[in-house]
């Protein structure tokens, strides 16, 4: 078991090193305007992802269940999902590889925070002994990743459109895809997040029904997840039915993402809840 724990820590450090080096290359590519630095940084992200996967796998072996409890497991899981979504996005639109400058530091900071948190192995609550947990968590991760991308695209859209309006588009802004593309990606990911949040809520309801004989209990995290889902629903209605201004919608997407973050990371500390992922 000692070997498994040591392997985990070493894998996390190697992953952190990969993400830091790739961040440095992304940064120098931007500062010194060297495209070839990005060509070095891009594969390094894959290296970071590989070692994060190994570390998570070893944690799984160590605790005998999926890595979904406490910061030491949740944060690397989130970093892993964020990097995967970034890589998919990069595949869809290669010009978005520059987003690595945001994703890589986020990933290494999450991994570092996980390493600094309490490493104690905690047993999962009895109601977690079900495959519905994995389905629920998988959809939650995809949903939150999509919310992140939607908000990031919306933020970059706002930045680029303002810079263009002032005629101040610099190298970084110039390197970004056009505003229509980012606007489209932002609302596509918001739509996708809406579906994934819906599946997450539905699978959670099925699980609750199987565990406690009720599919909805107004648990704080349930309610906050429903609030996030409603806000994305409002966003999509405003977009498709009322053709609201793109800038307003972009702000709404950013706001919706903060709601999601609040419901996921903050509510477990504010309320007594049956969701025990960070307790």
């Amino acid at each position: 078991m000692d070997l498994v724990v040591k392997g985990q820590i070493i894998s996390y450090w190697i992953a952190i090193a990969f993400f830091i080096v790739s961040f440095v290359f992304y940064a120098t590519s931007l500062v010194f305007r060297k495209e070839e630095h990005k060509r070095v940084a891009n594969p390094l992200v894959w290296g970071g992802l590989l070692f994060t996967t190994v570390a998570l796998g070893l944690r799984w072996v160590q605790v005998g269940r999926g890595p979904y409890l406490d910061f030491i497991e949740v944060l690397p899981g989130d970093a892993w999902a964020a990097v995967i979504i970034y890589l998919i996005l990069r595949k869809v639109n290669p010009r978005l590889d520059i987003l690595g400058i945001f994703v890589t530091p986020a990933a290494f900071l999450m991994l570092a925070a996980a390493l600094l948190s309490d490493p104690e192995v905690k047993s999962a609550p009895i109601t977690y002994d079900t495959y519905w947990l994995y389905i629920h968590i998988a959809f939650a991760k995809i949903a939150y990743g999509s919310c992140l991308v939607s908000a990031a695209m919306a933020g970059l859209f706002l930045w680029k459109s303002r810079a263009e309006a002032r005629g101040e588009a610099g190298y970084f802004v110039g390197r970004l895809p056009g505003t229509p593309v980012m606007n489209e990606l932002s609302h596509r990911f918001a739509g996708f997040a809406f579906i994934m949040l819906g599946v997450m809520i539905l699978t959670g309801a099925v699980w609750a029904h199987k565990s406690w004989g009720r599919y909805w209990g107004w648990d704080p995290i349930e309610t906050w997840a429903l609030i996030s889902w409603f806000v994305y629903g409002i966003y999509l209605h405003l977009r498709f039915t009322f053709k609201m201004s793109k800038a307003w919608l972009a702000w709404l997407s950013v706001f919706a993402f903060f709601l999601v973050i609040f419901s996921y990371f903050v509510t477990p500390y504010l309320y007594d809840t049956i969701h025990e992922h960070l307790r």
């Binding site: 005998g64 099925v206 004989g213």
Partner: protein, 440 residues
């Protein structure tokens, strides 16, 4: 009547209601909710907020989901969604029945490109791209994902089914708690044994049946050594026939005679007798349940006749620790083995035997299937809505020499539609020889 129809089928009303309901949810999460707190905690909150607290309680903010005004908002949203669907349904029927669009309309379509190609060639390419084509008097009309226009209807239908299911649950769901002790069999009418917050559960089937549990087995987590799950065999016997006999665990419940049995707690039932000055004040199986947070088996009971509170803790060696308090003073504190009897001069506690026990939530919810079915329908609608959009292309030929104007429009995702249209026209532009041959 028409005004009412227009108002109820207004999408603006839908947005207003969605925003209002979201605001209520957020307010409900800021104001403490009665169902999330114990009675004492809620009373304390009321005492700390002497002005706002009672006011919030009076208007239903402290239990917003059962407040009349919130139910009115949800009902209004239900009818608003229904009427919006009816209105959209009529529009769709008109659209489906309508003829192909006319060239005069194309000027308003957002995508247009010039093209050279024969009708057969263009039709071929459009078909390859998944479009259905129709030759008209002015050229070629092509479309795909026409049925995707119904996606929004499907999604909202799902939402209506979910709300209906929720309403059915709220009106007709019954649930209660029953505690069974290993080896014990309840006879007679189960009404007597299902206690709910309102009293005894009333909607259980009229015919009597017997419930028994046996083979209780707790499963330990190999890593932490804590309880991971519990399994027991539950038998339902009606008039001498076994109706159901199955192993039940947490997350693996048992549905029988229209009711579902969920394990809510598990633990032990020590049979104890407590006497005061030679007078028996308590003689029954007490309940000691597993407390996950503290990884111990504990239970509390009150003896109202004596104003005593009794705290029990099961120890791994089958011993139990007993503390009896009267208000804050401890009257008795000791650890007993099975068949022990301890007398401190004032109180005598006898620990007769130990049985394993389990507490079930017994529920009958006729709305649950509707909610899940509605959820599935809504998700299906969303998936259609997300992955396909109604796309139309019109190719108007300018002359007989293959000069054509291509117009296009998509219900959603215009950027990707524009890319698709460009791909089709670029392919056609890249085949001048083929065009010539076709013309020839």
């Amino acid at each position: 009547m028409r005004f009412l129809y227009i108002m109820l089928s207004s999408k603006k009303l839908a947005i207003v209601l969605l925003v209002l309901i979201t605001a209520v949810y957020i307010t409900g999460m800021v104001v403490p909710q009665e169902h999330l707190l114990s009675k004492n905690e809620f009373s304390r909150w009321l005492a700390v907020n002497p002005t706002f607290g009672p006011m919030a309680q009076k208007v239903g903010l402290s239990s917003f989901f059962s407040a009349w005004w919130f139910l009115c908002m949800v009902s209004l949203l239900f009818f608003n969604t229904l009427f919006c669907m009816v209105r959209q349904g009529f529009t769709l029927i008109t659209k489906f029945k309508g003829k192909s669009p006319q060239p005069v309309q194309f000027e308003k379509w957002p995508h247009r490109e010039e093209l050279k190609g024969s009708p057969a060639q263009i039709t071929g390419h459009l078909t390859k791209a998944g479009y259905r084509t129709r030759v008209t008097e002015w050229g070629i009309y092509a479309y795909k994902h026409r049925w995707a226009q119904t996606a929004s209807l499907v999604f909202h239908l799902g939402i209506l089914i979910v709300i209906t299911g929720g309403l059915v649950s709220a009106l007709w769901k019954t649930s209660g708690v029953v505690r069974l002790t290993e080896g014990q069999t309840f006879g007679g009418n189960i009404h007597e044994y299902l206690q709910t917050e309102q009293g005894y559960l009333a909607k259980i089937p009229e015919d009597p049946f017997l419930v028994g549990i046996d083979g209780v087995e707790s499963m330990k987590d190999p890593i932490s050594g804590k309880e991971k799950n519990v399994s027991q065999v539950v038998t339902f016997d009606r008039e001498g026939n076994v109706v159901e006999k199955r192993e039940v665990r947490v997350n693996q419940n048992l549905s029988v005679v229209g009711h579902t049995f969920y394990i809510s707690r598990f633990g032990y039932s020590p049979g104890i007798i407590i006497s005061r000055d030679g007078r028996e004040v308590f003689a029954a199986y007490a309940a000691v349940s597993y407390d996950e947070g503290k990884d111990v088996y504990r239970g509390d009971l009150t003896i109202p006749s004596e104003e005593w509170s009794v705290m029990l803790e099961y120890l791994p060696t089958s011993e139990i620790s007993v503390i009896i308090k009267e208000k804050s003073s401890v009257l008795f504190e000791n650890t007993l083995k099975i068949q022990d009897s301890v007398d401190n001069g004032q109180i005598k506690v006898e620990y007769m035997e130990l049985r394993e026990s389990v507490e079930f939530i017994v529920a009958r919810d006729p709305g649950v299937n509707l909610v899940f079915a509605g959820g599935m329908v809504a998700l299906m609608g969303l998936v259609i809505l997300y992955f396909s959009a109604y796309r139309q292309i019109a190719v108007v030929f300018k002359s007989g020499r293959g000069q054509a104007m291509v117009y296009g429009r998509a219900e959603r995702f215009r950027y990707s539609f524009s890319a698709e249209l460009s791909r089709i026209t670029d392919t056609l532009k890249g085949e001048p020889e083929a065009v010539k041959q076709q013309e020839a």
